[in-house]
């Protein structure tokens, strides 16, 4: 969303509110995911050992 008067050179760029909300939610989810993995509470990894498929 751009706050402007059409054709004006003094327009200010404004990031839309939905993008800010979306970005905040994404950031929180990434943080939760990272914390769960770093504290070792994840359900497994991506390797065969991590996924519990090999002894």
């Amino acid at each position: 969303m751009v706050q402007s008067s059409p054709g004006s050179d003094n327009e200010d760029y404004v990031t839309p509110r939905w993008v800010k909300v979306f970005g905040t939610i994404a950031l929180v989810l990434i943080l939760i995911f990272a914390i769960i993995h770093l504290t070792g509470h994840g359900l497994g990894g991506h390797s065969l050992h991590g996924m519990g498929l090999k002894p």
């Binding site: 760029y13 839309p16 993008v19 359900l43 497994g44 991506h46 065969l48 996924m51 519990g52 498929l53």
Partner: protein, 180 residues
Amino acid sequence: MPMKPGLRKLALTIHITSSVGWLGSVAGFLTLAIMGLFSREGITVQATYLGMDWLTTYIILPFSIAALLSGIVQSLGTSWGLFRHYWVVVKLLLTILATSVLILHTQPIRSLGREAAAKPFSATDFRETRIQLVADAVAGIFVLLTATALAVYKPRGLTRYGWRRQREQRKESAPEKSSI
């Protein structure tokens, strides 16, 4: 570069088909993952994980790559552009994220399928991995539904780049209008 209407419709058809197919096949994967987690019959569990391996390799992965590539072609070939509107950028990021996670998890799914083919699982075998596959599928469906909603609602908002391009275009068209 704008595409011709016929080509644009073809690209859009490919994009919608692959995106909807991707969502539907992940829903099928979730059904199998739940079945594999809770079923007590060894043969059913075995068949479930073999099926999930095939479904991932031959349906979900091709659909995800087709959706990603056709989406990029679609945006570059229309006035929407790839980096001009936030909804396009967010949808692109979600698709890249979902495809990356899928590729990362293909190998463990394949290994689980091989293990299932070798011998039937008991209820406790690879339990954490089996729970993780259910969680992955739920997260995948959520991400794909979000991407679908973005494509349908197309929330307004230009990126900084899109905003600059729009201003440049306005400036270019202004002298033409004044000269008419």
